[in-house]
Structure formats: C-alpha cells, structure tokens
C-alpha cells in the first residue's frame, strides 16, 4: 500500500468517528443543497443547459492548441506578458522571478487552487516575502497553517468559535460569536494590505480565446482589489480554463454559481484583458499571465478521461459525494479532493501512489449527476481502478481469480467446495470478525451471506 493510501485510511478512520465534524459538514451542505435546488429550478431546462456546457467545453478542450494560441496572442497585444510553464517548479520560479524583479515586499493574493497545486505560498515565504491570502476562508486557513478544506469553501470545517479563538490568538481581536463581526475583523486586517502590497496574485476561472481575457469569479471583492491597487499583477491558471467565446460566459457563469454555491451568478465576475491601458486611472502597470500545464497534457492524452479537463472547479461533486461528506476534505491529502480529485490526482501525481482514491467511492454516481459540465466522473473512477490494475497487477488477486475460474469450470470441484463450505459454516460464523478470521478486515463491518443449506441442483432434484 502506498504512503498516501496509508495516510488516507488512518485519517478517514479518525474523522468518520468525529461526530462534531460530521454535524458541521452536514449542516453546511444541507444549506447548500436547499439554495442550489432553488436556483436550479429557476432554469428553464437545467439538463439541456448542462449538455450545451459540456459540448462547449468539449470544443474548447479538443481544439486546445488553437484556442490557447488565440488567447495568448490577443492578450499579449494589450501589453500582457504570457508565460508558458510545463511544470509546477517552472511556474513557481517564474513567479518568484517576477516578484524579485518588482522589488516587492508584500504580496496580496486572492483565492487560486492552482497556486495550492504548485505550493506557491511556501516558496514565496521561503524567499522572505509576506504573502497575505485575502479571501476570508483562505485567510482563516492560512492563519491556521493548513490547506483549504474544500475547493470552494476553504474554511467549511470550522465553527465561529474556533475562528474567533484563532483571530484572538493571531490578530489580538476581542472574542465574538457573530459571523458579521468576525468578517469585519478580517476586513480591517486586510484593507491596508491591498494598498501596501506591491504585487497581487490571482487565479482565474475562465480564459476567453476570442477576446483574450481571463474571467475571475468571486463573492467578496478581494480579487477585484487585488487586481486594482498593486502595481504588478500575476494571474496563474491551468491551460484547461479556455472557453472559445465571450458569450459562452452567459451560460457558464450561471452554471458555475448555481452548481457551486446555489447563487444565480456569483457576486463579482470580472474580465481582465490587460494591464492598465492608456487613459485609465488605476490598475497594475505590469500584468503577467502564467499558463500552467503540470501534466494536464497527460490527462489530455487519455481520450477516455479527457473530459475531466472540462472541470470548472465548482465543487458540486464534492458536496454531493457520500465519501467526501464523511471523510472531509483534508483526508484526501490532495489539492483537489472529492470525486474530481480522485479522478485527476492519479493522472497529475502518479497512478500507483494515488490509485486508492478511486476506491474511496461507492460508485453511486451522485457526482456525475451533479456535475454542471457532465463529466463522467464515476465511470472514470472505475476506469482508474482498471488502469491501476492493468499497469501493475497484484499477483495474489490474479491467482485468486485463476483459482476461482478453475473451480467454477470444474463441476466436481465446485460441488466439493459447496460441501466443505456447508460443513465449516458454523465454525465460520463463530470466527467472523475475530482475530482468527482470515478476512476480518472485510467482515468486521460487513456480513458474508450465509451458505445456502442446499444448492439449486439439489433443490431441483428433490422436487421432481
């Protein structure tokens, strides 16, 4: 078993017994479900809208070279510098270089899962820069020195009391039970930072090929401030974020907001097409767009699972996943958790190390049903299981299946097996779940069906 698998099992074993955690997640997600269902019902036809989004993304991903080239040339024409990075370290070094060149001290950052993916903050802090997360949820988990719990709701696993204690400890604020008051503490702490920061770093939700723009979705206004006041702006995004046309946003913005958070559209959806243009009163003097591959092209090379690159990171599949709802986000030990994380992580970080994630699924298909771009998530989990075995078959399993095949193909042996099973059945029932049980890790939480007192053949014979 890989290290990651071992850690997953241990963490899952602990947290599934944590009733406080379960209560918190269930309450939060129930609120989400109510809001989402209400917004979904405002659509004239939700499933047809999903299908058209899936086809639009299919077009984008299957002509990725054309659209990326168009995007880059249009956005460069307005004075943006585009950097193409094959690996995480390459992207990290590119951004470190930009910040050094800017002679920056303070960096303010708005939410970007891609930055988590390449461990940008750690690298920048090692270089001695102060990096401030400005999204409230990200700000909270940054103070706690832990990764985001969920790709959309980073601090979903915390109660207001824990957050109040944290602020009291780290910021010296007075304790409070009011979410409003807690939010204002963060607002005051960050306000100066936007003005002081020399560099602002953002992620992006979509890259529009037709007009050469990125689109950033947020509720708080922190990304807008991050890209308004610092004199240098850096935007980091995966190459799969492409959409062909500006008008596509008319479909994708409502889908993202409805599936992701139960909103009609998110508070701020902002298009950026360049650094400050002549005649404009503010905005960065320099803008760097960093395009990240980081093995997305490996996923692209698998036509069966290529649609996993359609993902718009709405988080809907996490929210409905019975596994995620029980083991929580941190158990996965990955940047992208939940069903979509289980599908793509083996491609991004190695099949053998991460194949256990495809087994962390009941294959109920709730994720596929929830996905606004119709990614075939649960079939991809099955395919990962198949591919993992195909790449590195387990000899014990192969032997077991061989023996099974031999036995069921040899009637005499099969019958003999039945007789033996019936004789040892009482003993088996005694041993079930005890340390002497050879399959106790299975039977500890499950029942084996009892052996039938007579076989079908015998039954038939006796009744004739």
């Amino acid at each position: 078993m890989s290290n990651a698998a071992q850690q997953f099992l241990e963490a899952a074993g602990t947290i599934t017994r944590n009733l406080r955690h379960r209560g918190l997640i269930q309450t939060a997600l129930r609120k989400y479900e109510v809001a989402r269902d209400r917004k979904k019902s405002a659509f004239n036809d939700w499933s047809a809208a999903r299908q058209s989004a899936a086809e639009t993304k299919w077009d984008a991903i299957n002509h990725l070279d054309t659209y990326l080239t168009e995007f880059a040339s249009k956005i460069e024409a307005r004075g943006t510098k585009v950097h193409w990075c094959t690996t995480g370290p390459e992207a990290r070094d590119t951004i470190r270089g930009i910040i050094k060149d800017a002679k920056a001290k303070c960096v303010v950052k708005s939410k970007a899962m891609t930055a988590e993916e390449i461990h940008l903050n750690e690298a920048l802090e090692k270089d001695g820069f102060e990096v401030v997360e400005s999204d409230l949820g990200e700000f909270i988990v940054q103070l706690r020195k832990e990764p985001p719990y969920h790709i959309v709701f980073p601090a979903m696993h915390l109660t207001r009391d824990e957050i109040s204690d944290l602020f009291e400890r780290e910021l010296g604020s007075a304790p409070t039970r009011e979410p409003e008051e807690l939010t204002m503490i963060a607002r005051r702490a960050l306000r100066r930072k936007y003005i002081q920061a020399d560099v602002g770093i953002t992620g992006a939700n979509f890259a529009i090929a037709e007009t050469g723009m990125v689109s950033i979705t947020e509720n708080e206004g922190n990304a807008r401030l991050t890209s308004a006041l610092p004199r240098v702006m850096v935007t980091l995004l995966g190459i799969e974020k492409i959409l062909p046309k500006l008008e596509d946003l008319a479909l994708f913005l409502p889908l993202l907001a409805t599936a992701g958070a139960g909103q009609t559209v998110t508070g701020y959806n902002t298009l950026y097409g360049g650094p400050r243009q002549p005649g404009e009163s503010d905005g960065p003097i320099e803008w760097h767009v960093v395009l990240l591959d980081n093995r997305r092209t490996e996923l692209l090379a698998d036509p069966e699972q290529r649609d996993a690159l359609h993902c718009i990171r709405c988080g809907a599949c996490l929210n409905v996943c019975p596994i995620f709802r029980n083991v929580g986000g941190h158990t996965y030990g990955t940047t992208y958790s939940g069903p979509v994380g289980s599908v793509i992580t083996p491609h991004l970080r190695g099949m053998q190390e991460w194949k256990h994630l495809s087994n962390a699924s009941s294959l109920c298909g709730a994720c596929t049903e929830a996905c606004p771009v119709k990614i075939d998530l649960h079939h991809h989990l099955l395919q990962n299981r198949r591919n993992a075995v195909g790449d590195s078959p387990s000899w014990i399993e192969r032997l077991a299946w061989r023996a099974h095949a031999f036995a069921v193909n040899t009637p005499a042996l099969y019958q003999f097996g039945q007789e033996v099973a019936r004789i040892v059945e009482p003993l088996r029932l005694r041993l079930q779940g005890t340390p002497l049980d050879p399959v106790k890790s299975w039977t500890r939480t499950r029942d084996l069906p009892p052996v039938a007192p007579e076989s079908f053949k015998e039954w038939w014979r006796n009744r004739r």
Partner: protein, 243 residues
C-alpha cells in the same frame, strides 16, 4: 515523443497538446453507453447543431421579454441580493434621493468620476469629491464614504450591472469605498446575460478596457458557517438609482 531542445516553452506545450489530440475523444453526453473499453467512442445521447451556447439561452433562467418585465425581474433580483434598487421618475428625483442617503449616512467625502450623469449628481450633492480620472492616491480613495459611478448595462435575469475600468472611473472606485452607488438610465436595462455580453461587445469591442466587471449585489461572504455576511472586502451597500 516530442523533441525537446530547440523549442521554447510555448512550442513545447503546444506540441504536447497536438500530440495528445491526435486521438479523438468521444462527444459528451454519452454516459454509460458503449461500456468502458478504451477504444469505444459511443454516440452522444443528443447534440446541438451550431454553437450550443446560442441555443442554451432558452434554457437558462429567463430575463423577461418586455421592458416592464425586465424592471420587475431586476427589482425582484435586487431585493434578494440586498441591492437597494430605486427606480425614480426623473434625474432630479434621483438627486433628491441621493441627497437623502448622503444625509442619513453622513457622507463627508465622496468619490466619483467625470461623466454627464455623475457630474450632475456630484454637483447636486455639493460635498468634497475625489475624482479618480487621470489617477489618484489610493489612501485618499480609501477614506471616502461612497463611490458613485455609471455603468454599461444592467441585467434583469440576474440583478447584475456592468462597470469597466475606462468609463466607470477605474478598477477600485466601484469596490474600495464601503458604499457603491450606480446611476443608470432605464434603457440600459437588458433582459439576460447573452444580451449583456452582446451590448458590451458593441460598446467596447474595438477598444477593450482592461477590466470589465459584472457586479451582482454588494460584496458578500458565507465563509463562516455558510452564514451570509455583506461587505466582506468590497462595498457593504450597493444602491442603484435608475430613471
């Protein structure tokens, strides 16, 4: 394999993409059809002719088809978003309302930009005003009580409005002060997002501003126990005055 040496990073990534795309992928919407074999490319359940998004419009939440419907929907969406939406008879009436808000909130300093609508409004307000056109000191904008701007369009379907960095006073004016007031004419209100993006393309398509923002309600967060709080980092209040 792809050759490495003479190519720059861009060419390298594009080459990898082209290599990967040599094998076609099945069309979307074919869940569970055709088994799980690696080589099966099942037919989609259904597929659209032409660009799907143009058809998709009819499946989205509706925006209404008459100006009256647009108004009703925009008002309903605003109420839900906690946007203070006021549709008034005339510009003069809008100025009266604006002065009332200014008095009740005790605005000491106002920030705005130059345009016919905002100039008339700031004159009517007669308070110290910071104009962001041509540059400003961020600390001075930060202490203003309100940012007053125009907008490009408003969207009935979603209760949104669109500001941009060239004609709405820059990037920060509409998001740094604690109150954002938008002045708009009724004919700027459109039905849905598809209409809005078309209008934006007509307005700016030949000369894009560096930022275009679709603003939907005041700044908000649900990051603490999924409880809604307004004014996370952006404005706590959003007022739309329309005539």
């Amino acid at each position: 394999m792809v050759e490495e040496s003479p190519m720059n990073a861009q060419e390298r990534i594009l080459a990898r993409i082209r290599e990967a795309l040599k094998v076609p992928a099945p069309k979307p919407g074919s869940h569970g059809h055709g088994g799980h074999g690696r080589d099966v490319a099942p037919a989609p359940v259904f597929a659209f002719q032409g660009r799907p998004v143009q058809v998709a419009r009819s499946w989205l939440p509706p925006g209404g088809s008459t100006p009256q419907e647009h108004l009703t929907r925009f008002a309903a969406a605003s109420a839900e978003l906690k946007t203070d939406f006021r549709c008034v008879e005339s510009e003069a009436e809008a100025h009266v309302q604006l002065r009332q808000i200014a008095d009740s909130e005790g605005w000491a300093r106002v920030a705005s930009h130059h345009s016919p609508l905002t100039d008339a409004a700031t004159t009517a307000l007669a308070r110290p005003t910071l104009f962001t056109d041509g540059g400003y000191v961020p600390d001075e904008l930060e202490v203003c009580d309100v940012g007053i701007t125009t907008c490009d369009v408003l969207v009935a379907q979603t209760g949104s409005l669109v500001v941009n960095s060239r004609t709405s006073g820059g990037r920060a004016l509409s998001v740094l002060p604690p109150h954002h007031v938008v002045l708009a004419r009724k004919d700027q209100l459109l039905g849905d997002l598809t209409d809005a993006f078309q209008r934006i393309e007509q307005l700016h398509g030949t000369h894009w501003p560096s930022m275009i923002s679709l603003v939907t309600g005041p700044s908000r967060t649900g990051d603490i126990e999924r409880i809604l709080v307004l004014g996370a980092h952006g404005p706590k209040k959003l007022t739309v005055l329309m005539w």
